[in-house]
């Protein structure tokens, strides 16, 4: 398929080779996993990189970014492998070797899919609820000066309250555990989005509103066609931060009477000291985050293409 190694491909190729060589040269300390696994990992990353690089991107800068990121990932894997499994510098049980984590992935893969669906359902419901409430409420608050001035200090006092202390109240008021979990995700995502919508609307250049008023638009059109697009850049910042907080709170939310979810998986593994599961879980969350953030970024790029 591919003929020669281009300029971009130099670093990833070098690091893949270094990775494989270092596995072959330095003897393994533990014996849980054979070298084959780790070499497979490096080759897998490299093949994936080549596919992404060849198929998806035509643009030079994209290829460069992909190469850079793959290089960083490879270096991290090499360091991790060397420090844990080869030189034995990090030997504590909190540092599993890459091979152990890989094995864990393989072992738990069916389970992880179940956890994934559970988490996605929870995230989607909590986050969407936050989006649906925070954006209109924030925009309405900003629109009425008096409400704006009141909501600003209130939100800045309420936002930093750790959602975790609200758990008992959620359990005692809401009808089900699922509702309580959703509430924790919701409340975490709500405030950043609310504040972003508030700031977005408050920061709109008055001339746009004035222009619209001279065109005689009704309130609904004003909202939909002028205020919303003008506030959208700020709202997207809030959406990103809200998403980050949702993920951060996932472990807490999934410890409310649940028995599934990637947060639950990680938390339970932490409690049980199974750190190859913990690391596998974190990497898995990282993968989910990558997908979610890519979707969010693409949506942003599309909706803000006029910028």
């Amino acid at each position: 398929m591919k003929s020669i190694i281009t300029r971009h491909q130099l670093l990833p190729t070098i690091f893949t080779v270094i990775g494989i060589l270092s596995v072959l040269i330095f003897p393994s300390i533990g014996d849980a996993v054979s070298n084959g696994y780790v070499i497979g990992l490096f080759i897998g990353i490299y093949i994936l990189y080549q596919i992404i690089s060849l198929l998806f991107y035509k643009k030079d800068t994209y290829r460069q970014v992909t190469a850079d990121i793959v290089s960083i990932i490879l270096v991290l894997f090499i360091l991790w492998e060397l420090l844990t499994n080869r030189f034995g510098i990090l030997t504590s049980f909190v540092y599993p070797t890459p091979g152990e984590v890989l094995l864990q992935f393989q072992e738990d893969r069916a389970e992880l899919v179940v956890h994934l669906f559970s988490s996605v359902r929870l995230l989607v419901s909590g986050y969407l609820l936050a989006v649906c409430l925070a954006i209109p409420l924030g925009m309405i608050s900003a629109w009425y000066g008096r409400l704006d001035r009141v909501m600003r200090p209130i939100s800045s006092v309420l936002a930093p309250i750790p959602p975790i202390v609200l758990i008992p109240y959620a359990i005692s008021i809401l009808p089900s555990f699922a509702a309580s979990s959703t509430f924790i995700i919701f409340i975490g995502a709500f405030w950043p989005i609310f504040v972003a919508a508030l700031n977005g609307v408050a920061g709109i250049d008055r001339r746009y509103i004035s222009s619209a008023r001279t065109l005689g638009v009704n309130n609904w059109t004003l909202f939909r066609k002028i205020i919303l697009p003008a506030a959208l850049p700020s709202i997207f910042t809030g959406l990103t931060i809200g998403m980050i907080l949702s993920f951060i709170l996932l472990t807490a939310a999934e410890m409310i009477g649940a028995n599934a979810g990637v947060g639950y998986y990680v938390k339970l593994a932490t409690d049980f000291g199974n750190y190859s599961q913990v690391v596998a879980g974190i990497i898995f969350i990282g993968l989910i985050v990558t997908v979610v953030m890519t979707i969010l970024t693409q949506l942003e790029r599309y909706l803000l293409r006029w910028r």
Binding site: R207, Y208, S210, S211, T214, G216, K225, P229, W306
Partner: protein, 254 residues
Amino acid sequence: MLSTIQYDNVGVTYESNGQQAIKNFNLSIESGEIISFVGPSGCGKSTALNVAAGLIQPSVGAFKMDENIITSPGTDRGVVFQNYSLFPWMSNLENVRFALSQKSKKSNTELIKQSKKLLDKVGITGKSQYVYPTQISGGMQQRVAIARMFALDSPVFLMDEPFAAVDEITRKHLQNLLLDLWEKETSRKTIILVTHNIEEAIYLSDRVVVLYEGEIITTKPIPFKRPRDRQELENERDYLTIRKQLLQAIEGNA
């Protein structure tokens, strides 16, 4: 729908720096009149126009239309701002179509056709219609803003240096476009125009109002009959006198 406009002893002081931008501003404009505000840079022209647009509230006095005090923008006044103020998230075409759609119940294809025609008139043609405002030149943006105001077709036009960013030929073309529109209508539009081009003020206006340091120091009626012809106008006897008087007034000698 006739609209008499009245500045009733209006004064504006900007809060942020305490600058008194206009003061003792008294002016009555009859329906169908074309009025120009001229004066040195920073004398308060934009401020006075923004009061009419309902964008700035007078600190003292009141701005009235048909005896009603005006404090907010409205469909009765179409505005071209000094800085264009197109919606950056809509294509140029969409900017105009959006304005049209607020008044008209016509089908969308019809609206788009009409918008294109308006844009063609101001010389924004072809691909430039479909791109975003940030992707065209300054003068082109100003022309889109003019097309948008035309689309609105309100009884009062408020225009802040609408032809400042375009070349002489386009400028003349646009001036004629404006006059055509004004003259064709049975109930003529009331137009307030801010400009720093005295020939333009004379050519277009019924009266030229000269501002100096925030105050009206002269109001000069322009007696020439309409429709006017540029060439003829410049040969009129009074033309040079009026021009000179206005120039002097602008320098602060009323």
